[in-house]
Symmetry: C2
Subunit: 288 residues, 2 copies
């Protein structure tokens, strides 16, 4: 089995590590990244066996090719390997938006989604980026969502599913449009809000005092604001229609809450707090 | 040494537990809560030695009296114990807003802040409420902020400081107005935003799907939305001028970000993400 990872970051690196931990005899992992520093690190840390120096060389003879780059770079990554993808190879991705990936892949492949492409999204990650932060257990017990398209090979899907299961994940399937709607709410919008909150603090005169007095609630609330700006810029851009719709709704909700505070409608404000808390508590057991 | 805790919740209960762990011979902890369920639990769990059934009885003969109730209940709690406070007793509180507490205490005490009152705020907590969630290590390595007032007894302040140090905390002093400004930014606003975000989700048609697909980023970002609505209603209300000013600023910032997304000014959006991330990373080591 030969696995090629294009994009040696937290996700690509962790997948490589995970599969190498439980490696069947003969698994070979090759890797490529446009950043030579990540490539060197991946080799030095033993995340990949080989790093042949180009994307095309890395996918040569690979059975499964995983594109693990910021979503808007998916098309370029695929273009760069296209001539070298073997006839029996499967290509999958790990992007947080799925409609944009399917559109980009179709564009690269002459307007039609190829049977050998499997769009995927592991619901796992940390706020840390780069292959140095990769670890084999990242996907343990987490879900990976596949968003199948018409004409996809069942065998290709099955091989990607088995790969993720070998990495410790559970695989579920979902429509791509629905996926983008749901993750705009659970993940994309929170990142925009967390970045927006911390950015606001940086422009307050008491900035230093504020950060010096931050506690555990602040640390957790802002954790995702330490995520890769490039990666999240790509995600928001790729899912802009849904994210902006939700952000507009959030702004409108916050404006209502501001009006409640200003006009001292405290019972209404408290009712919102109570509704939020009750919903979170009700669903808490489902959050991974 | 006799310690009286008025308000047997997470903070009051944890303080009692912390002091009992390293108890000097002869420490007696009495407690009172308006909720009989919390009183019973506090006794059953061994958080307090005695629960005499009224606030006045609980503070009888106490050396240190800790008021640990939602901030807007501070005045009522103090009123209820005022006739029973001994001449050598010190009274302190744990409220998240300090100007409102000082105003309320002055009102109850005939317009003047008494020398025996020490306003305090431990920067520790979890999203869980109630004495059942109290634990002795809650304050370990955390800060407690005291906001001294003119005419405060140095001896009273010193005794409160020693109490918190015995519970494992570090004590710092700060002006009350400055405290309220800073904690509006690090703590009060994030709670409003987290409640507002989760509340928004509860009104989306895909609510169930959304919560079912929430991951680790969502869990941390929304953790504080599981906090006590009563407690946070009180805090926002007590610090409404500053919280509403910051909330207005946040809404305006988010509106700018929404405009960037809608008009595809991606470099500007990414610059905000980058500024936020850089600030958080720079200050991360300071966050407790």
């Amino acid at each position: 089995m030969k696995l090629a990872v294009i994009g040696l970051g937290l996700i690509g690196g962790s997948l490589a590590r995970a599969l190498r931990v439980g490696r069947s005899a003969g698994l070979v992992v090759t890797g490529f990244d446009t950043d030579p520093k990540q490539v060197r690190l991946a080799v030095d840390l033993g995340v990949v066996d080989q790093a042949p120096g180009s994307a095309q060389a890395a996918v040569q003879g690979a059975d499964i090719i995983v594109i693990a780059v910021p979503v808007l770079h998916t098309a370029d990554a695929l273009k760069s390997i296209l001539p070298a993808i073997g006839t029996t190879a499967v290509v999958t991705d790990v992007g947080s938006t799925k409609q944009s990936v399917l559109e980009d892949v179709a564009k690269v492949c002459g307007g039609k989604l190829p049977p050998w492409f499997v769009a995927g999204h592991p619901i796992a990650g940390t706020e840390k980026s780069g292959v140095a932060n990769a670890f084999a257990e990242l996907f343990h017990g987490h879900r990976v969502i596949l968003t199948p398209h018409a004409g996809q090979s069942a065998d290709a899907r099955d091989r990607v599913r088995k790969m993720w299961e070998a990495a410790g994940a559970r695989v579920v399937e979902m429509d791509a449009a629905r996926h983008d709607q749901i993750f705009a709410a659970t993940s994309h919008l929170p990142h925009v809000l967390a970045y927006g909150f911390v950015d606001m603090l940086t422009r307050l005169p008491e900035q230093d005092q504020i950060f010096r007095n931050a506690g555990g609630g602040f640390r957790d609330f802002t954790r995702i604001a330490s995520s890769s700006p490039q990666m999240w810029h790509d995600i928001v851009r790729a899912n802009r229609a849904t994210v902006s719709e939700l952000l507009a709704r959030q702004i409108s909700d916050l404006s209502e809450m501001l009006a409640m505070i200003r006009s001292e409608r405290w019972d209404e404000l408290k009712a919102r707090f109570e509704r939020a808390r009750a919903a979170r508590e009700r669903h808490l057991s489902q959050i991974e």
